[in-house]
């Protein structure tokens, strides 16, 4: 049972597992909607890059089923669906070091039927990037910009960006956001972006997938998440206040931040507030939560279950 018809899903994973020597990704069950931006958020080593590599058929998996743009993908299946995808890897490829951006772009131009030199040059200009130097000679941020231009120049149906902003200065970062906004403006394009940067997720994302130690901590619609979660500070002198609050509706986290002062995180804020009052607590403040705080709660909850 799915909430969307198939052609509304850009990336679908069912029970997908990638087993490495020290790290296992999955089992993952997730559906990323077409036409939307999904941000993948998680600490270092949570499996974000492995997930991208899996989608690009660079990571063998034997369990589960993955579909991209409605086509099944397995490491051994034909790679035609990749022509409809743009991918920016987390790290640049060393074997491309001696190429210039122009040379790399010429390879890409042969490979992708949708390649558009005009679009490529516009992107380079917008990023203020130089296409003539060898990639090895470029600064980290400059190389990121030319690789991003190459990944976007064929106007792919699906854009997979693995921490695209790493190394970008604030100006380049803003340009990137507006170029990605323009790309999404077409309406039927899909962006999947791994990000550490809260502001990037706030500005760009429609949906968020949280990853931790190779497991999904949930797939959320961004606004529903930020609307729903609240951090409530309560005061009580009762000795059993903490035990009572631990049963609050929608409880996601609870800490005693000072004697008699409790911080409660919940995804049912109104019910939790009423419950707190009925448990004899005074409600001091109620506020929305930041992305990191939500991630932190989800991780602590997951760790407690292990």
């Amino acid at each position: 049972m799915t909430a969307h018809p198939r052609n509304d899903i850009a990336v679908s994973l069912r029970q997908v597992v990638v087993r490495g020597e020290r790290f296992t990704l999955g089992p993952l069950n997730v559906e990323m909607p077409r036409g939307l931006v999904t941000a993948i958020v998680g600490p270092n080593g949570s499996g974000k890059s492995t997930l991208f590599r899996l989608l690009m058929q660079l990571e063998p998996y034997r369990e589960g089923e993955a579909e991209l743009l409605g086509e099944p993908v397995r490491p051994e299946t034909d790679e035609s669906v990749k022509l409809r995808i743009g991918y920016l890897a987390e790290l640049p490829h060393a074997y491309e070091d001696s190429l210039t951006a122009e040379e790399k772009a010429r390879f890409a131009a042969k490979w992708y039927p949708g390649w558009d030199w005009d679009r490529y040059r516009k992107l380079l200009r917008s990023f203020d990037a130089d296409g003539t130097a060898k990639l090895r000679k470029l600064s980290k941020g400059m190389r990121r910009k030319v690789e991003l231009a190459i990944a976007m120049a064929h106007n792919p149906e699906l854009l997979l960006l693995d921490e695209p902003s790493s190394g970008l200065d604030p100006f380049a970062w803003k340009t990137m956001l507006s170029e990605l906004g323009r790309y999404m403006e077409q309406g039927d394009r899909t962006l999947v972006i791994a990000s550490h940067i809260t502001e990037e997720v706030r500005r760009l994302a429609d949906c968020i997938l949280f990853l931790h130690r190779g497991k999904s901590l949930g797939f959320y619609e961004k606004d529903a998440l930020f609307d729903g979660w609240r951090s409530i500070v309560l005061a009580s002198q009762e000795p059993d206040a903490q035990a009572k609050l631990a049963r609050a509706p929608g409880l996601q986290g609870l800490t005693e931040s000072a004697p008699g002062i409790y911080r409660l995180e919940t995804d049912l804020p109104e019910e939790a507030e009423a419950y707190g009052r009925s448990a004899g607590c005074q409600v001091m403040t109620v506020r929305r939560m930041e992305l990191e705080e939500i991630l932190d709660c989800l991780i602590r909850k997951e760790e407690a279950r292990r």
Partner: protein, 141 residues
């Protein structure tokens, strides 16, 4: 195009509700004239740092209320609003503001007589101020 919508992170109302209420107010208050082309769903989402899912919902709601209309391929426009609807909205907004004030009064244990006398004082003070300003302007001319 820039639209003066401000999201208050501290309000308990969900984002779509805040955006919808303000956009409705701008249309019914005629700050956005009939025929104005609104930003695309993605543009407004980026500007307000919210999801396109939220903006789509707002546009759809206001379209079904008859305040917006979407022309395929061109975008979403402000529709012509009936004067009766506009008057109804004006009335509604004022009633809402009074309800809030009365609620505060009740919470702080004001009697109805107290509140009525406060209201009369406020009206007297405010209208006197306005009248004063108008008189000033008149004397300058």
């Amino acid at each position: 195009m820039w639209i003066p919508i401000q999201i208050d992170e501290n309000r308990p109302e969900p984002l779509y509700h805040q955006i919808e209420t303000q956009l409705r107010g701008l249309i019914l208050g005629e700050e956005l004239a009939e025929g104005t082309l609104l930003p695309s769903i993605r543009e407004l989402a980026v500007a307000l740092k919210c999801s396109v899912i939220t903006i789509r919902r707002v546009y759809q709601d206001l379209e079904s209320e008859g305040l917006l209309r979407t022309r395929q391929g061109t975008g979403t426009f402000v529709a012509g609003v009936d004067a009766v609807v506009r008057e109804g909205h004006r009335h509604e907004r004022v009633v809402e503001a009074f309800e809030k004030a009365v609620e505060t009064g009740l919470q702080l244990h004001c009697t109805p007589q107290e509140m009525e006398s406060i209201l009369r004082d406020v009206i007297a003070r405010r209208t006197a101020g306005r009248k004063g300003e108008a008189d000033d302007r008149a004397s300058e001319e």
